[in-house]
């Protein structure tokens, strides 16, 4: 499931992440100790190397859509801006001539 929360006033994202990562890793270690799959290497790696990371969610929960489209959209914005700039410059030149 997706989980999100609200920071208390004055608490930084790093502080909250440090606290919750400890809870998360303790939880995973407990799960591993009672899991039937605890001898599998993948499961062990998941339990020992998993880290909790808090991401800012001010513009909404990330479903992967933003990650996928943020960079192409910014690039497109730059390109469109430059095209507009170039065309207006060309226009002003040809009208001056």
């Amino acid at each position: 499931m997706l989980i999100a929360g609200r920071l208390r006033p004055g608490v930084s994202r790093e502080q909250a992440q440090a606290e919750l990562d400890v809870v998360h890793r303790r939880f995973l270690a407990e799960q591993l100790s009672i899991s039937e799959l605890r001898s599998l290497e993948n499961v062990q790696r998941f339990a020992y190397q998993g880290r909790l990371v808090l991401r800012p969610a001010a513009s909404g929960m990330s479903s992967g859509l933003r990650d996928r489209y943020a960079f192409p959209l910014k690039l497109l914005m730059w390109v469109a801006g430059i095209v507009l700039l170039v065309s207006s410059r060309a226009l002003s030149r040809s009208s001056g001539a």
Partner: protein
């Protein structure tokens, strides 16, 4: 006298008006060029506006809730999978309860998951809706108030509780 006029700044405006009249005259004399100029500027501005509105919707706009910058999303990162935001859904309900019980830095933690399409019957009509399930504090952590009725009250995310929230419009 002439210097005073210049420093008071009206000459600037007068010159601008002269330029405007001059350009209008030149454009009228050469309608082909005028058309090309108007078209290319319109296209350029239109493309910029369209792309910006898309960028705004996807990346920039903040959630319409109180203090959206306080909101954080839990993600789970493995060294192997550090590309992008994978591992978003790797949390379980027991772990959510653990976070809620032990966190002191967050004022509220909620969880939710996509349920998918479901049949909805309402006053004799029925239809298909896209449904999500969420913990009982979803709306109270986001600090949203309902337009009609009420949101979930505590304990209504247990088995057997049957409360649904509908969004009006599209």
């Amino acid at each position: 006298m002439e210097d005073a006029r210049a420093t008071w700044g009206w000459t600037c405006l007068e010159r601008f008006c002269q330029d405007l009249r001059y350009s209008a005259r030149m454009l009228r004399r050469n309608p082909g060029f005028a058309l090309a100029a108007v078209l290319s500027l319109a296209l350029g501005i239109g493309a910029n506006t369209a792309i910006f509105s898309l960028l705004n919707a996807v990346v920039l706009r903040l959630l319409p809730v109180a203090d959206p910058r306080q909101l954080v999303q839990f993600t789970n990162t493995l060294p192997l999978w550090e590309t992008g935001g994978s591992g978003r859904e790797l949390y379980s309900y027991p772990e959510l309860e653990r976070f809620q019980a032990q966190s002191k830095t967050l004022s509220g933690i909620f969880g939710g998951t996509r349920v998918g399409r479901m049949n909805v019957g309402f006053h004799g009509t029925s239809g298909i809706a896209q449904g999500d399930a969420s913990s009982d504090n979803f709306f109270s952590v986001l600090e949203i108030t309902p337009q009609y009725g009420r949101f979930f009250s505590a304990g209504e995310d247990r088995a057997g509780a049957s409360v649904a929230v509908f969004r009006l419009g599209c």
